[in-house]
């Protein structure tokens, strides 16, 4: 598939406890775009991401990835196309050591051991974690865990990267390394985040979510110029854009 677009049409979803998380979400993301999804807590960002590779099934509406509709038959193929990074790397690094974890995806794809080895080493090298191959996860720092999680996703050769709060919990240096790494990827990137400065560094387009709907969809500069929109959606300007109002203590 050369043209990987991600398209959502009128997605509706309610959690079992009655919370209507998605209230008619529609968008279309083209191949190679870098899109940020921002919004307050409970706006529906994570829920939306989980719909993109079929981990949640919408009550109404549909998702398309490339030229495939998202139905149970196409799930395996779509899950190879979309690589998903979860918010807590501990949820994603569930194997006994780094090598086995990165090999998990390729192994499930049915690849032979030699091919798996090639992919694992290549992915670890891309994220700069080659030296961590036999480490158990509990010995890794937050940044290292995040890097290994990314390697695990890359090893499946996805075309689209979907990330939920990728910079949360990282120290400034690790965060910078992450941003530089992601900048180098040519994949389509869909990033749900509170880190508005990362959005400035990485994403050209921004979707603003509020109460399960897309409130705004436009270029990052336009969105961040709309103060009223930001306030309504429990957001602010990125920290790097905010003037210093209070004198230093």
């Amino acid at each position: 598939m050369s043209h990987h677009l991600v398209e959502a049409r009128s997605l509706m979803y309610a959690y079992p406890d009655g919370n209507q998380a998605l209230n008619g979400v529609s968008f279309r993301i083209e191949h190679g775009e870098s899109v940020a999804i921002i919004g307050g807590n409970g706006a529906g960002k994570s829920t939306l991401l989980l719909h993109l590779n079929g981990l949640l099934k919408p009550a109404a509406g549909s998702v398309r990835v490339g030229d495939l509709p998202l139905v149970s038959e196409t799930l395996p193929q779509i899950r190879r196309t979309i690589g998903m990074l979860f918010q807590d790397p501990d949820d994603q690094l569930f194997m006994a050591n780094v090598y086995d974890d990165v090999a998990f995806g390729p192994a499930n794809m049915g690849l032979p051991p030699d091919e798996i080895d090639v992919r694992v080493r290549a992915s670890l090298d891309i994220v700069g974690a080659g030296h961590l191959a036999m480490r158990p996860p509990y010995q890794l720092s937050g940044g290292e865990k995040r890097a290994v999680a990314i390697a695990g996703v890359l090893a499946m050769s996805p075309s689209i990267l979907v990330m939920d709060e990728p910079s949360s919990g990282l120290d400034p240096a690790a965060r910078r390394r992450l941003i530089n790494l992601l900048r180098g990827f040519s994949h389509t990137k869909i990033i749900a985040t509170h880190d508005l400065d990362l959005v400035l560094d990485l994403c050209s387009r921004v979707l603003v979510m509020h109460e399960g709907r897309i409130e705004a969809d436009g270029r990052a500069e336009e969105i961040f110029a709309d103060a009223e929109l930001l306030a309504r959606c429990q957001l602010e300007l990125p920290l790097s854009r905010q003037p210093r109002t209070a004198p230093p203590l």
């Binding site: 989980l50 590779n53 981990l55 395996p76 899950r79 190879r80 998903m84 979860f86 807590d88 501990d90 949820d91 994603q92 569930f94 194997m95 006994a96 050591n97 086995d100 090999a103 998990f104 995806g105 192994a107 499930n108 794809m109 036999m134 158990p136 996860p137 509990y138 010995q139 695990g152 996703v153 499946m156």
Partner: protein, 270 residues
């Protein structure tokens, strides 16, 4: 909550020791597992009054610990911590079996004390063997060895997951426990209802985490079968190690080596 911290440290320290390179590290885990089991069976097969004949068996854990660089202090500490049950039951022997069994240079030693000493000796030998097995092999390779020995895959997968998430969950438990302690005004242990509430919260978080992990696994193509644990090849060195160990155990089991050695020396001296 220092108990949890200690437990986690133990979990990790044994694995860290096992990760060091060495002659033992290259042995197939199956050989080490089987040798340890044979050792334990040999040790516990002695009758209750055996003491002398057990002594040569100490060479197995001592030698392996030395070759694997396992610190003695670690093993000794764990021996102490793990001793209560065996001690508690064993201490009844001297209380119950008061008849003199052995006359040691004129001092009568009751059978109870002899069997108590035997229990202690058995305890130290078997516990040391188990710890040395873990410390010279590492949990991951023990699981790999078990899988190759035929243990059902769902069980070894369970072992690995348990080991993986033990410290994540223990961390949550420790933090919640610490938070409780800080507001408990001196009361060390929570009451039953508070305990239930603490556990309830922790269980909820565990259930939610399990759901997220499930999603992460499915997102990477998981369909129920875990394909892991590169199998190890059985080599001559492994066969040699295992058969050598078993031969020594059988020999030491059937010949009371210390007594024979003592008698021979006296005979030579005389």
């Amino acid at each position: 909550m220092s108990r949890i911290g200690d437990a986690l440290r133990d979990l990790h320290s044994l694995d860290a020791i096992a990760a060091r390179p060495g002659v033992l590290a290259s042995l197939d885990p199956r050989a080490k597992i089987l040798a340890t089991l044979a050792f334990i069976v040999a040790v516990v097969s002695f009758d209750r009054y055996a003491i002398l004949a057990l002594l040569p068996f100490a060479l197995f854990p001592v030698a392996l610990a030395a070759l694997g660089d396992v610190p003695l202090r670690l093993v000794a500490r764990k021996l102490l911590i793990a001793s209560p049950f065996a001690l508690m039951i064993g201490i009844f022997n001297p209380l119950l079996d008061r008849a003199t069994l052995v006359d040691l240079f004129g001092v009568g030693v009751s059978g109870g004390w002899v069997s108590f000493a035997s229990i202690l000796l058995r305890f130290m030998l078997t516990v040391a063997a188990a710890l040395v097995l873990t410390a010279t092999t590492g949990f991951y390779r023990v699981c790999a060895g078990l899988t190759q020995l035929g243990v059902p895959r769902i069980f070894t997968t369970q072992l690995l997951f348990l080991h993986r998430y033990a410290d994540v969950l223990a961390g949550e438990v420790a933090r919640m426990g610490a938070a409780h302690e800080l507001r408990a005004c001196g009361r060390q242990r929570p009451s039953l209802s508070v305990y239930g509430s603490l556990l309830g919260h922790l269980l909820l978080r565990a259930l939610e985490r399990a759901q997220r992990i499930h999603l992460a696994m499915v997102a990477r193509g998981f369909a129920g079968e875990l394909r892991v644990l590169r199998p190890q090849c059985w080599r001559h060195a492994d066969a040699l190690f295992l058969s050598g160990c078993i031969a020594c155990f059988v020999l030491a089991r059937h010949i009371d080596l210390p007594r024979a050695l003592g008698r021979w020396l006296i005979g030579v001296a005389a």
